[in-house]
Subunit: 282 residues, 4 copies
């Protein structure tokens, strides 16, 4: 699917999940902060959401695999053409493989939410693995292409492997608010960058980019940073919005707790933060 | 031993150990989970198993070294030919060196099970080292070979170094269930991939692969991911099977404990998992 | 701004911040050590200082962006020249982007000092990110330049990425005195090295360096190490100075505490250190 | 000093320190294990030893710098020859720089042993830095040399950077017995490998090696692994020896404690080990 749509489809998936995470995690963090200290429980509501998220991942992965296989110029499930002695549409098969691992990550998510004895952190490992496989396949994906084409895909790899490492850290540092925001931001970045790749390689206005010009590569590198700056802005806005709404709804409760905290023997600011973090990490 | 058997032999070793680990670790985890909280002890049984495992490693390493040295076209212990002024069968010597470090790992395993004051984590460090040495030697192993040959061995390195890093983490995060499953899966992957290398370079049906065709490389990259997907399936099946059998055997006990847990002041699901993990990690 | 001033400007910023940190962090560490055990509080004074630091970062970033855009030969806000079909002054745009992320880091600093519920560690993540973006853009910045030019900028990357990784660790190991000193030293190193790049590429005495001579590259590599040795000396002097002054001011108090410590059941020296560290880390 | 002695000198330093560490750390570990639980103190003896070690490092670094500068064909403190417009003996200057950072590491060791408020872990950071600088300078040291020359120095870098990373971990995981043994082993490896480089590049029997033959490179890679296998053997022997002697001297005491441990409610073997580790790490 080497066209604009072929990049917009995965881009939309990542954008959707990134935006959703940038709302979900602040919501969870604010909820916990609003609770009195001690092992506060998250409402059942949050578990159901995670379950739906996992199910959606499986569904999207399934849609992605089907789309890659059964588009008109797809391989339709054929891998090797005995007559022509050649592989059939390997590009589509590679994309299917990427979706497959996101499906596995979805299955791990769903299983983690059941009462089965799944080791904690397995869902994050599966997601980290899905991102790694995506980056791994992309890495060997772009040989023999024009320099700018290679470069925009290499930049994508920064977001993909960055997300993979950040998610791997979450296996060991679960519920770390900074890592959760980092993962959300890298998912949004990946989403918007897929769109950008589409715009660069298949321009909507029809004016082709010069795929060998060094200046274009320099611009694209810088543009990647701008995407991330905008992503950080979105994350910040969503965080503020969630915090403002939560504060409105459960208003007085938070104020009380904050006053309570201020009444404690005053201590170093960072230790106060550490306290808050404790109550978040439970 | 540049033939199919030369790849099937180490492949079988890794496959065997990987499959065994994928049964042993779930067994240990389920056993601990089934115990009442507090520092439950593993039955002596598990220590004996680890001892046997270490002894088997030493034995296999010994067999491997002997095989590499004394096959008909092996170096028979000769390293340098003074007359021809050349090294004798360096490939076999390199393989012997790899086996040697697995032997050292086996010795570390056995020593860790005795009552000697071995620093905890040394067995994992020795295994990590053995994997590193394997990867290190393979890395300088494949110069001047056809592209596909280099590529299938490079993919092997992903499994080898991945296993080495994951095992190194276990030095510091001992008994982490996720890392144990990761190590098991990477061992199985290495095993099946050794077989795949054999099939690609020495096809059983006699039809040689084109070792320079780019499409073959793309397929092989993807195939590596499929191997890992199947590996994950095997790990999952073994985990379920072990859990199901343990549940059958010690049935009521687990149920009781789970009800016990559910009666506790209900808390966030992830904290409940953390509890379980605590009891696992002791 | 490919001239001496263009390298002296960022160099001065980094030097200023590095020197300031090399005073601030020893001050905080000594203050805490001087307090009786238990969660001692840092005076409000330190929070105000951090606030001013964040505000200064935003101001400097703003100055930097404006300078890059509106110097006589700058892009004046124009990105693409429709007539010439070419990008306008991409170098200046890249530098503006770097400053932008330092501005974002400043905003994160300021927000962390307010009473808003910012996740702890976000300020360090933002700084780490700003350093990463700087290194990332520099990495693609130096294609098609003479070898020595490439080499001095590559050496800069060691300081930049080193600082980025060290600051990233601080997200998880906040208030670690060793990491704080490491960050200070890498900032000073970056500052002095920017000056050195200026001296090498635009020598003040007008005698151009031979940008292709291998010996020059060897000298420059070694010179980089000397810069760091001097940096360590500065850090050490500042640390001693701060410690000496604090000791003078709050003299008796520290002595008392140290005697108190010595009266404790004597234990291993490293454990005593660990105690001190605890009281630092709170 | 491109001759055999020039490689034997640093090799001897590293070998000496590696062997010494492989005795010192087991000694400390066994001593602690022999003490009753709780924060046992190391005898003043160990601090004095560390002080002497630091002083020796400073002395050796000083000797190294002097030797590099004032050997007959050294630079004698001259850096730039104004007349010839060229740098003077950069190789010797680079080696002096390496020694300088080991001197700084020695100073950090000595300061850490005084009663000054040095942040704990600074001595390990300084050592890690010295190793990093050594590797960093070697990395840019070997351009334009024959392949085998480059290769033996690259293998050295594995030991150097491995040691640097392992020592960096010790900043955060101080007194970890596994990391201490790893550092000792990598120091011995570096020492013996320096000798090996000397033997390969300046053979004592006068028969030059073919510096371009691929087989030689394969042998050397394998030989590096053998060096490490021998290193592990030495480490193991020293550990056993120390343990055996300590057991002899303070015999009964250890036995008592072990019986004490066995009388505790029996728990998982690994948890028992963790206990022991706790008492080691204090």
């Amino acid at each position: 699917m080497a066209n604009f749509k072929g990049h917009a489809l995965p881009g939309s998936f990542f954008l959707l999940f990134g935006l959703w995470w940038s709302v979900k995690y602040p919501l969870r963090q604010c909820w916990r902060r609003g609770q009195p200290r001690g092992r506060s429980r998250l409402p059942q509501f949050f578990n159901r959401i995670d379950l739906v998220e996992g199910a959606l991942k499986i569904f999207f992965a399934f849609v992605g695999i089907m789309a890659e296989q059964f588009v008109p110029d797809g391989p339709h499930g054929h891998l090797y053409n005995q007559e022509a002695k050649s592989w059939v549409k390997l590009m589509n098969w590679q994309h299917s493989t990427m979706y497959l691992f996101y499906g596995i990550s979805g299955i791990a998510d769903v299983l983690s939410m059941t009462s089965l004895p799944i080791p904690p952190g397995l869902d994050r490992l599966a997601l980290s693995l899905a991102l790694f496989v995506e980056g791994f396949l992309f890495y060997f994906h772009v040989h023999n292409r024009p320099p700018l084409d290679v470069h925009v895909h290499s930049l994508l790899l920064v977001a993909v492997f960055g997300g993979s490492i950040s998610t791997l850290l979450e296996v060991f540092l679960r519920d770390n608010p900074v890592l959760e925001l980092l993962r959300s931001s890298l998912a949004i970045l990946q989403g918007t960058w897929f769109y950008q790749i589409g715009f660069v390689l298949f321009p909507l206005n029809g004016v082709q980019w010069d795929l060998t010009l060094h200046d274009n590569m320099m611009f694209v590198t810088m543009c990647f940073c701008w995407h991330y700056a905008v992503t950080l802005l979105i994350i910040g806005l969503n965080y503020s919005l969630v915090w403002f709404i939560i504060r409105r709804c459960s208003g007085r409760q938070i104020n009380d707790m904050e006053i309570g905290l201020r009444k404690q023997p005053p201590s170093d600011r960072s230790s106060q933060k550490a306290l808050l973090q404790d109550s978040e990490e439970e």
